[in-house]
């Protein structure tokens, strides 16, 4: 980890470069060269590979990428460069845990290894999908905490509105929305009887650094043991608004996550380049943010979801690469194509998380229906996803590969035209927020199917 002021100095004094040149003439070709140099190959027949050498090759390629091309700062149009020694030393001396939660809910987020029997960190909830009202927000968060006892942390929804006004980025509405997100989230967890649970996507509604800073005041209820995410821009980019958050959060001494969504089909190219880029982002988070955990959500350029076989392979390779070669805990977050109260969304979660957990990761339950539609979320999907992830600890990569390959055909042909599903209002009791009988029947049916494939659920 380099001091944030040193990152700033390099942002201001680094090599000038046009963004277009960084994308097209520096990043993209070098990634493809590294794919060849390290012989990184995606085999469609092995979506979860148990080849440690392949995972290490992905890591070496990512290491070389960061050392050779650095990170692009969009504000200064300069490259933040690192020496090989700096990168190696930073990886070797990085944070190796994050203490999260309070009281009875306090736990330590630790790194896992491929095929580890250690239970994954379960970061459950909305994955930042927007909701239309404070009532829906409260009902969802309370039900996440009540229905997912294995949850280690909660990811809240984002508020779309403040009163009758849509939240607008960089306006007072964003400030107010950010503060309300924190206050409501904490209160919902108290009502669920789990006031110590950490909110790990604090503050979901804050898009700008000033909104984050506003919501951080202790009066509103955020704690040092909550999780604080800083986005990293595709591909291998940052800007001063994001680095400003690092400057603030490092001074507050809170656990920082670098989060990143490399694009399959974008500048990284295909599956191999996207796996290398995902891994390079993990290293970037260590170098530029002082991250104590990271979260990756590779996404398909065409479908804007992550459950295609290529992307399940990308997530698996990324998690194996970073868990075998760094000590910073890595989480995986997904975007399902299908929406709530469908079988397909549960198949997608099962395939992605069985693969991810056996590959050495932990999880944040993802955005359903591509995270695209307001109120398209219920407690059922993160509940199922959490249970699958928890049950997948200890599954070997070879077994995971066989299981995942049997799940994929149950949804793969619908990724391009997925069912949108139903809204919270259509699926959940308006007073309690509990999911409907229909949702539970789908959940029970798919859970039994997954159990029949060899996944041993705790309950």
């Amino acid at each position: 980890m380099l001091n944030i002021l040193e990152i700033t100095r390099r942002s201001l004094e680094g090599k000038p470069c046009l963004e277009k040149d960084y994308d097209l003439r520096i990043f993209a070709p070098r990634v493809q060269e590294l794919v060849k140099e390290y012989d990184v190959t995606y085999d469609p027949n092995i979506v979860i590979s148990s080849d440690d050498g392949l995972a290490d090759s992905v890591f070496k390629a990512a290491f070389d990428l960061i050392v050779e091309i650095g990170v692009f700062n969009k504000d200064t149009e300069r490259v933040i460069s690192f020496t090989e020694k700096e990168v190696r030393d930073s990886i070797n001396t990085s944070f190796d845990h994050a203490l999260l939660g309070e009281g009875m809910e306090q736990r330590t987020l630790l790194p896992r290894k491929p095929e580890s029997k250690e239970k994954p960190w379960i970061f459950a909830g909305a994955g930042g999908v927007t909701v239309s009202s404070e009532n829906v927000f409260m009902k969802l968060v309370q039900n996440y905490a009540e229905l997912i006892p294995i949850a280690n942390a909660i990811t809240t929804p984002c508020l779309a509105n403040v009163g009758d006004m849509s939240i607008r980025a960089k306006s007072p509405l964003e400030i107010e929305g950010s503060i309300r997100t924190v206050v409501l989230g904490r209160e919902a967890l108290r009502r669920a009887g789990r006031p110590g649970l950490p909110i790990m996507n604090a503050i979901g509604t804050a898009e700008s650094a000033i909104a984050l800073a506003s919501g951080l005041h202790p009066d509103f209820g955020l704690r040092k043991t909550d999780g604080y995410m800083i986005a990293q821009l595709a591909e291998l980019k940052t800007d001063f608004d994001l680095l400003n958050r690092a400057a603030l959060l490092q001074s507050l001494n809170v656990p920082i996550a670098g989060i990143h969504g490399p694009i399959y089909g974008g500048f990284a190219g295909g599956a191999e380049g996207t796996a290398i880029t995902s891994t390079a982002f993990h290293i970037m988070a260590i170098m530029t943010l002082g991250a104590s955990w990271t979260l990756c959500f590779p996404i398909h350029l065409k479908y804007t979801s992550s459950s295609t076989p290529e992307l399940i392979w990308v997530a698996s390779q990324y998690l194996q690469a970073v868990s075998r070669n760094t000590q910073v805990p890595a989480l995986y977050y997904n975007y399902t194509a299908a929406g709530p109260c469908t079988e397909m969304v549960l198949y997608e979660f099962a395939a992605e998380f069985i693969g991810g957990i056996s590959s050495g990761g932990s999880i944040e339950t993802g955005g359903v229906a591509r995270g695209k539609y307001t109120d398209y979320l219920t407690p059922i999907e993160p509940m199922f996803a959490s249970e699958v992830a928890y049950a997948s600890a200890g599954i070997t990569r070879d077994d995971a590969n066989e299981i995942v390959k049997r799940i994929i055909p149950r949804f793969a042909d619908r990724v391009g035209d997925p069912p949108r599903g139903k809204t919270f209002q259509e699926c959940c009791d308006p007073v309690t927020g509990r999911p409907s009988k229909e949702c539970y029947e789908i959940y029970e049916r798919v859970k039994q199917e997954v159990a029949d494939l060899g996944v041993r659920f705790l309950y």
């Binding site: 994308d23 097209l24 993209a28 070709p29 969009k74 927007t130 984002c158 779309a160 849509s166 939240i167 607008r168 980025a169 960089k170 964003e174 929305g177 509604t205 898009e207 821009l233 595709a234 800007d239 694009i263 089909g265 974008g266 500048f267 190219g269 295909g270 350029l301 065409k302 804007t304 591509r370 995270g371 695209k372 539609y373 307001t374």
Partner: protein, 215 residues
């Protein structure tokens, strides 16, 4: 003649701007008419690239490099053509709304539009509402295409439409919206003319809307 055109088309597909310039100049010097060079070399090459991208046989880098190569070809060919003979599918202003710095989706759309013969003015990201309109007027655009990636910046799309209506210019332009959180319901709500989930769909929608307007 056909060999020069074939090489030009191939260089467009490869995204090699230097070769494109070389082959375009060679074709014109060999007596190929600028219109033929444009239609048989540049447009066919670009169309091929767009189709490959839609099938995900090539990726964004190839698409954008081909877009650059196409622009290099146009730099050679267009000065040799009377303005009225230049075939243009339509003129489009694209940009990402104020407060939003995401532009990969917008860049894909731009490349796909260029590949399909549109003249595109790219305003970049974090674009002020009034600038969309000013630039559209400046190039006499057919379409204003507005991108937003965040729920909290979607309102910027409505701002542009409101501004057009308030200034009495709404009927002059087709307005299309796109980006992560946008959908047909939103497009209808704010009075946009078109919406698409993906860049290839957006191109088809742009062609349809222009044809519809022409009657």
């Amino acid at each position: 003649m056909s060999e020069d055109i074939a090489k030009l088309k191939e260089a467009i597909i490869e995204g090699d701007a230097e070769k494109v310039t070389q082959y375009a100049e060679a074709a014109l010097e060999a007596g190929v008419s600028p219109l033929v060079a444009l239609e048989k070399g540049v447009s066919e090459g670009a169309k091929h690239v767009g189709e490959q991208f839609e099938r995900m046989e090539i990726f964004l880098t190839n698409l954008m490099l081909s877009g650059e190569a196409m622009m290099a070809a146009l730099d050679v060919i267009l000065p040799k053509m009377p303005k009225e003979e230049v075939p243009v599918a339509g003129r489009v202003v694209v940009g990402t709304v104020r407060g939003d710095i995401h532009e990969i989706g917008k860049n894909i759309l731009k490349a796909m539009l260029v590949a399909n013969g549109f003249a595109v003015t790219d305003l970049g990201c974090d674009v002020a509402t009034s600038r969309f309109v000013e630039e559209a007027e400046k190039i006499d655009a057919d379409i204003i295409a507005i991108s937003a990636l965040m729920t909290s910046t979607l309102g910027g799309q409505k701002d542009v439409i409101d501004y057009l209506q308030e200034t009495g210019k709404r009927d002059r332009f087709i307005v299309m919206v796109g980006g992560g959180p946008t959908n047909q319901e939103w497009a209808d709500e704010i009075g946009a003319d078109g919406f698409a989930e993906t860049a290839p769909e957006a191109v088809r929608e742009a062609i349809r809307l222009i044809e519809e307007r022409k009657g």
